[in-house]
């Protein structure tokens, strides 16, 4: 690897870490601005001022905000996400399993959605403005336009209720055999795929069409390449940077935006965990989950940036 790439990559990573720190400040500040605090939440409306003051002292809520921030940040960096107020459980331990579940679901949704979106995009370009293109675009747009819960319930109605192929409730547990687990996540994964498909497909189509105007595409046509090979070999490699960007955005959505789908299918992932604890005003959990989501989002975007840099032959092979 040559030095200009390393430099650019190092810049992106440093920027990402800085951004993550800024986000952690925002998350912390945001939870401080909310009316009421944990002590109030625990003791309820009927608490006496004395007991509130006692609990605050006990929880360290009387310290200045910046001290509490650094205390929290220090904990996060050493793997200690704190203790959940509502249940008294260690957050890191309860998140671990759920994060794994969310990543598992996102992974399999992505494995289906990304190649499918790109292939559909390539096909749409090959038959651009014809009926195949319009059909693909129309179906993809329709699937994106329907709200996720609607798609989820339609899937449940047909696959779980009517035909009874897949379970309507995606219960997973530790030590579950792989096959059963896959069967359990089939419907939520399908719902997620349908939600993210169109965005990636349409971006692939647009990015490649943009490149199709280039002189080198004409050169390829004049070498006698078939239309599909022109797109695959000559147009696609030059359209890859914007496509990667959209793919990464959607991957991030698969991880941090699955709340609705997880709730519909009662899937024990991060989204459900977050929703549960928001209603209980469990600030440490909300902070921890928020930070993890931000980290996922930022790191996927860094990967997209780096991939775009590496995909550029001018940067990979300087003069």
């Amino acid at each position: 690897m040559s030095s200009p790439i390393l430099k650019l990559v190092a810049q992106r990573v440093a920027l990402g870490i800085l951004l993550l720190l800024a986000v952690s400040v925002l998350i912390f500040a945001g939870t401080q601005i909310l009316p009421g605090d944990v002590a109030q939440a625990i003791l309820g409306q009927s608490a006496t001022p004395e007991s509130l003051a006692n609990l605050r002292e006990q929880l360290g809520l009387n310290q200045p905000a910046y001290l509490r921030y650094f205390h929290w940040l220090g904990g996060v960096l050493t793997g200690d996400l704190g203790t959940a107020m509502s249940s008294g459980q260690d957050i890191a331990t309860s998140i671990k399993g759920r994060l794994w579940n969310t990543l598992f679901l996102a992974f399999w949704a992505a494995i289906v959605a990304v190649p499918l979106a790109i292939i559909l995009g390539l096909i749409a370009v090959r038959y651009r403005n014809g009926w195949v293109d319009k059909l693909i675009s129309g179906l993809a747009l329709a699937s994106t336009s329907f709200p996720e819960f609607f798609i989820g319930y339609v899937l449940v109605y047909f696959f779980a209720v009517k035909w009874q192929i897949f379970p309507g409730i995606s219960t997973v547990y530790d030590g579950m055999p792989f096959g059963e687990r896959m069967q359990a996540i089939a419907l939520p994964a399908a719902a997620l795929t349908l939600v993210v498909l169109a965005h990636m497909m349409r971006m692939t189509r647009a990015a490649i069409l943009n490149v199709m105007q280039s002189a080198y595409v004409e050169t390829a046509e004049l070498k006698g390449l078939s239309a599909f090979n022109v797109i695959r070999k000559h147009a696609f490699p030059n359209a890859i940077a914007p496509i990667i960007n959209v793919v990464m955005l959607n991957l991030a959505y698969l991880i941090v935006g699955v709340v609705v789908v997880e709730v519909i299918f009662v899937y024990p992932g991060m989204g459900q965990y977050l929703v549960d604890h928001v209603t209980k005003r469990d600030v440490p959990v909300v902070q921890a989950v928020g930070l993890i989501f931000a980290a996922v989002y930022i790191s996927l975007n860094i990967i997209a940036d780096i991939a775009a840099i590496v995909a550029n032959p001018r940067l990979r092979h300087p003069k």
Partner: protein, 551 residues
Amino acid sequence: MADSKAKPGLLLDIRNLRIEATVFPPGEPPKNIVLVHDVSLTLEKGKVLGLIGESGAGKSTIGLSSMGYGRGGVRITGGEVILNGRDILKGGKDGFRKLRGREVCYVAQSAAAAFNPAHRLMDQVVEATLLHGTATRAEAEKRAVALFKKLSLPNPETIGERFPHQVSGGQLQRVMTAMALCSEPDLIVFDEPTTALDVTTQIDVLAAIKDAIRDTHVAALYITHDLAVVAQVSDEIMVLRHGRLVEWGGTRQIIKEPRQEYTNALVSVHEIEHQEQKPGTTPFLSVKNVTAAYGRSDIKVLKNVSVDIYPGQTLAVVGESGSGKSTLARAITGLLPPEAGTVTFDGRPLANRLADRPKEDLRQLQMIYQMADVAMNPRQTVATIIGRPLEFYFGMRGRERDRRVAELLDKIEMGKGFSDRYPAELSGGQKQRVCIARSLAAKPKLIICDEVTSALDPLVANGILKLLLELQKEENVAYLFITHDLATVKSIADSIAVMYRGEVVRYGPKSKVLSPPFDAYTDLLLSSVPEMEIGWLEKAIKGRRMASAGN
């Protein structure tokens, strides 16, 4: 299929070719236009036919028809294209695919754009050969390296490992020629292969192409708008205009004894009468020891440049791309504040930065650009475009403004009827005229013309140059004329500055600059301008003292 109509030795026989396209004019229903009207031509094996004409003459369209290809919705609607004894138009899509890259190959105008930036050169050069299965990869690569050698590319063994952006424009054009030759086709279509290159690089590429054609016995259609270039490589020349045949004959006959008036106009295009004016006593604009760089870079784009401009006269700045010509214009106008040196105007220094200059200083310096169509707002009418400086500098409104716009339109030899038109409805030459009117509207002392005729056809460019000279007489405006085209310089300049790598290497009145003894660079530049003379190329290559920078 053996065609009884085919003559022996004939490679390509195009009969009554008709090509149409659908255009979508703004505000009107789509309509069909005929681009090529029943053109016929024949080409024998191993011969070179030059197709020449202005843009819109249909030369590229005809060239590409030999591969059954129509650019952007262009359709071949009539006639026959008989290649190697069969009508390829009857072969359908599969037939086209089999002949493209095998029997007929294409060399594009801009190799820099025609190579895929994502793949190594070698992969692209051998791609067609492998696709058609005429050689194994090892054989094809060996052939490619041999071709790189023949086209005198540096490091022929390893240049194929590079990516397009790692190779200069002139070299890329030769690699593209090698790519076309690699699959050993019967015919190559060269589409303006040297037009995008600097004049000093063009000559090398031209010589390389000529040698390659001679040694491989491939036939070629050589498309260009430059008669002097085509005269160096062609056996025959066909002159086209508006999609119709004007004249077709041997190269010597076309350039020495043209039979048609249009051909004659093309041959004698650069003859403009202009009496050189002696420099006056005091220049109104002086550039003194200006040094400039982009950003905080250590690479100085201008190094200690000094020139003077006298009222009502033309200073031509010549040099190849990257020599700093346009940067000089940017330094004078304040777009790029110089790091050192001053620009004085009427005896007082001009502020370095554009933002610090008063309106009056801005008015005195106007610019015209190479690309007229992107220098105008496509959503404004001609009247609005020309009227804008009148409002901005003189506060003219209403009828007074309209009267002045009409006057200016009259000056650029376009009638009042054009005032309501949009730029998209004008031809290239008309657009440039509107830009000239816009700059004149400010009544400036100096107009900076940055390659204003480079994107135009020779005859249209000629008209623009004549107009500029007339306007100079009427308005006593001075020009700073930036160009890489020495023929233009010869026709209009009073004094000349030759630039090379950021420095002025030769400067003075035209007659002095263009008479010997020359410095090495000016000599290279002058000797590289193609002359309409058979055998000029060989003579020029032999007489060179210095290799061109683009090599």
